[in-house]
Symmetry: C2
Subunit: 145 residues, 2 copies
């Protein structure tokens, strides 16, 4: 059971931006901080900008910041749409859809119920829950790279 | 969010064996029925045999059958161990484990809680729930291939 790299990187980016809420952060800086792909992060930033979760300030001194308070960004609201096109099994949206028993299969509904239970847990947490009272995280995400 | 092919194929195999409980089924037959990899199915059958969920009868007229009543095989008991080595994100068991904030990260615990909620739903269903009162499935899994 695996989440997409988009969700993983989106949540990491939001943690970085929440910890560094007093300034703009660049994609390069976040990519270096986590040692992850700048290209992937750029795509994630575009998606989060289009959803008005992240704000992108253009220009030479530009960068990214949260577009809302961290307690107004639930983890479910980020993960759910980012995972929408990743098929849990092949009969789900985004899958190959070649399984011959699909019209009679009761497993699909049960798996959908389980997937919903997963996201319901994430709906109960916000970005603030990840960074609040977490000095160790603040240290890791603010110290000179 | 994607399950492993092992879990997918294991649950399909169990449905086939439950519907055809009055006889032995071969790997070839199940692979043909679903149009999926015989090699993958063989590995899944070995795992399910080692867990005493499926019984493998050797010999020329051999094949597979359920080793327990379908109402005594929960979907969670099959999916949970099959998914154990598939890392939800990279800091989970089986993942690369290179994320620098892992020691301070509160997301990991929340994702573990969400994953557990997923499997808890599957714990509430058995193989019997998939095949009982499902004549359409019986037709699809018993008719001549």
């Amino acid at each position: 059971m695996r989440l997409t790299v988009q969700t993983d990187y989106a949540l990491r980016m939001l943690m970085h931006l929440a910890v560094n809420a007093d300034r703009l952060s660049t994609i390069s800086e976040i990519a270096e901080r986590y040692d992850i792909s700048k290209n992937h992060l750029m795509k994630v930033a575009q998606v989060l900008s289009s959803w008005k979760i992240v704000e992108s300030v253009r220009g030479r001194a530009g960068g990214l910041r949260l577009a809302r308070e961290p307690n107004r960004i639930t983890l479910g609201s980020v993960a759910r749409p980012l995972e929408a096109s990743s098929a849990l099994v092949e009969c789900f949206p985004g899958g190959a859809g070649t399984c011959g028993i699909t019209p009679a299969c009761k497993l699909k509904g049960i798996l959908a119920e389980a997937k919903e239970a997963f996201f319901t847990v994430l709906d109960g947490y916000t970005v603030e829950d990840l960074v609040r009272r977490n000095p160790a995280l603040h240290d890791l995400l603010t110290e000179a790279a």
